[in-house]
């Protein structure tokens, strides 16, 4: 049984600067990191393995050759193996092409038990790849998982975070679970893990290694196109009033009258 974790190398958006004239990110010189939500996904995969004594933690990423770094990071944390899906033909993929490609890689390796992803990546913020992946693989999905309550080979009960609290959800396995940061605190790497990572070379999948329809990968497999990237205008601070409820009600009515709302 394999516990897959799909991870993504992203620019450290905390340190990204904007090219205001062009409305794009300045990527040059910005360090690349493992998507922070994916670190929680890796951690949860390791915890499931430790808790049940079952499963092999396999980490997958699609990206340029340097995306190998995030696989190494996962190895240093305790993942057993890492697969890099990398080829020029995969470049320019949107979430649809990405999830299609990932699903093909998972099918090729086979025997999935759980497929973890972070709830979203901090660069695109779409939160689409997890759900799309489940659809491609025709298996259930549970998004925004904040706790795995019970898990065995065939079923899992978990809590998923909502705007108002949480749902308790049961699902059959295999399933795709996307996790929120509340689920755990990622561990630090170990020295032995780092030493293993230092010499680690991932298996690389190209389109030839996967049973893919070439029209569904990379740029040509991507129906999404970005029309415009812009920085929204900063909201100006509103007016602030203090006083008793009656006083404030009167001020509010006056203001609404001024605006001809009432």
């Amino acid at each position: 049984m394999n516990i897959f974790v799909c991870i993504k190398q992203v620019p450290n958006t905390a340190k990204v600067k904007w090219d205001l004239e062009r409305g794009t990110l300045i990527r040059e010189g910005v360090e690349s990191i493992c998507n922070p939500f994916d670190l929680h996904a890796i951690e949860e995969a390791l915890r499931v393995k430790e808790r049940t004594g079952k499963g092999k933690v396999l980490v997958l990423t699609m990206g340029p050759p340097q995306a190998e770094e995030v696989l190494k990071e996962a190895i240093s944390l305790g993942a057993e193996d890492g697969i890099l899906i990398s080829d020029r033909a995969f470049a320019g993929a949107d979430t649809l092409a990405t999830s299609y490609t990932l699903s093909k890689a998972i099918e090729k390796i086979g025997n999935p038990w759980i497929i973890f992803t972070g709830k979203q990546a901090i660069d695109g913020d779409t939160a689409q790849v997890g759900p799309e992946l489940a659809a491609m693989l025709k298996i259930p999905q549970v998004t925004y998982v904040r706790k795995i309550v019970e898990i065995n080979e065939n079923n899992a009960v978990m809590e998923r975070l909502t705007d108002y609290g949480y749902d308790v959800v049961e699902t059959s396995l295999p399933a795709v679970l996307t996790v929120v940061k509340e689920i755990n605190e990622p561990r630090l790497p170990s020295l032995r893990g780092k030493m293993k990572a230092r010499t680690f070379k991932p298996v690389v999948f190209t389109p030839r290694d996967l049973d893919v329809d070439e029209s569904r990968i990379g740029l040509q497999g991507s129906p999404t196109s970005v029309k415009k990237v812009f920085q929204p205008e900063m909201k100006k601070g509103g007016e602030k009033f203090e006083g008793s409820a009656e006083e404030l009600a009167l001020i509010l009515v006056e203001k609404l009258k001024e605006l001809r709302v009432i």
């Binding site: 561990r187 630090l188 170990s190 020295l191 032995r192 893990g193 780092k194 030493m195």
Partner: protein
């Protein structure tokens, strides 16, 4: 300064630094004030394999080296000298076994320490501090066993550690030559611990008495040979004093970092105080001494790992580093001025933590005797 660390050494340093930054610094003030023993941080250190760096590979370690241990202690102490001591004190408890343990003793204890089981070393007694040969703890032979009686004082990690190296007299008539080292385990009948001492600094570390009341110890627990207890102790210190020095170095570096940051932020007379020469010269001296300390410790640690162990040089690291730590932390408080005296800022704690490094594992006065006697002897 460039120290040309190997890739492995750099890994140890960076990982320990990360633990200090992400796990230790957020809790250090609380643990200091409330005297909380850092079991949670010890677990993180263990999971990160930091305990393995000073344990031989055949026993689950990564190579019984002093240098990576020194790097780990330095970085952990940069976070908190007290929390780091759970780790450094364990190294002190482990080295007698690493250096003098039988194959059986090593396979019994070292894999556990590699996994993060804490250890301690017990030599000091109420009447035997600098005058270590004046210990009174007795170990009387009884067939295949020894019966231990006595009280060890100021023992780091006591009560929290599972493995203890204890020095006791097997032949009181022979003085220092009548001492023997034993490995004791927590849980042995008659092995008790005194109350936790309320200390000036390193308050996240525990210091207790180790009390032995007719503790029956099998002869297989003797470390080295009977009568070699002080040799075990002295050779151990030769290996671990750079560790205490590294603790002092980490504290000093932290105080320097805090002082420089503060000097850039604090405005007086319309300028950051870092622009005043009075402050600049203090910073220059602090930085120079910290770097000199590091250069000395790293050199000695590397020499030990290469097989050149010298009591003189190990003592030098401890004396120099601890005096620098006291000076640098005191000056850091001075640069912070009134704020530095307040517990809201970290430097007063660093000053309190630094003080112990001049006292334990041989007071600096006793160690100066060691250094001087060796230098004078070498010149003859």
């Amino acid at each position: 300064m460039k120290y040309f660390l190997s890739e492995e050494e750099l890994m140890v340093k960076e990982l320990a630094h990360r633990i200090a930054e992400e796990k230790i610094i957020p809790v250090r003030q609380k643990y200091d004030e409330e005297e909380i023993f850092p079991h949670d941080i010890v677990k993180i250190m263990a999971e990160s394999d930091l305990f393995r760096v000073f344990i031989p590979e055949e026993y689950g370690g990564l190579g019984a080296k002093i240098f990576p241990m020194v790097l780990a202690v330095e970085e952990l102490s940069w976070g908190c000298g007290g929390i780091a001591l759970a780790y450094a004190g364990t190294a002190l408890g482990a080295f007698p076994i690493i250096l003098f343990g039988s194959e059986e003793q090593k396979s019994k204890y070292l894999p556990k320490i590699a996994e993060g089981t804490l250890a301690a070393f017990a030599l000091t007694e109420a009447e035997a501090g600098s005058d270590a040969a004046n210990i009174k703890t007795r170990a009387e032979k009884d067939g295949d066993y020894y019966i231990l009686n006595g009280t060890k004082q100021f023992i780091t990690n006591a009560g929290e550690a599972d493995i203890y190296t204890v020095i006791a007299l097997t032949d009181p008539n022979k003085g220092a030559r009548g001492a023997t080292a034993f490995i004791l385990e927590k849980g042995m009948e008659g092995l008790e611990f005194g109350k936790k001492e309320n200390k000036m600094g390193i308050r996240a570390s525990v210091t207790r008495e180790v009390i032995m009341k007719n503790v029956r110890v099998h002869k297989s627990q003797v470390l080295g040979k009977e009568g070699r207890g002080f040799i075990v102790a002295m050779k151990t210190f030769d290996h671990t004093r750079p560790g205490v020095a590294a603790q002092a170095l980490g504290i000093a570096q932290a105080a320097l970092d805090a002082a420089v940051k503060y000097a850039n932020q604090r405005y007086q007379f319309g300028k950051p105080i870092a622009s005043f020469q009075a402050i600049q010269h203090m910073i220059a001296d602090m930085g120079t001494k910290v770097e000199a300390t590091r250069a000395l410790i790293y050199s000695v640690a590397r020499a030990i790992d290469a097989g050149f162990t010298s009591p003189k040089e190990s003592a030098m690291t401890k004396v120099f580093a601890s005096d620098v730590a006291m000076e640098v932390t005191t000056n850091a408080v001075q640069i912070f001025g009134g704020y530095g005296y307040m517990k809201e800022y970290p430097v007063e704690k660093m000053m309190r933590d630094a003080k112990i490094t001049q006292i334990y594992e041989g007071t600096n006065q006793i160690l100066r005797n060691v250094i001087a006697s060796r230098i004078i002897k070498e010149a003859k």
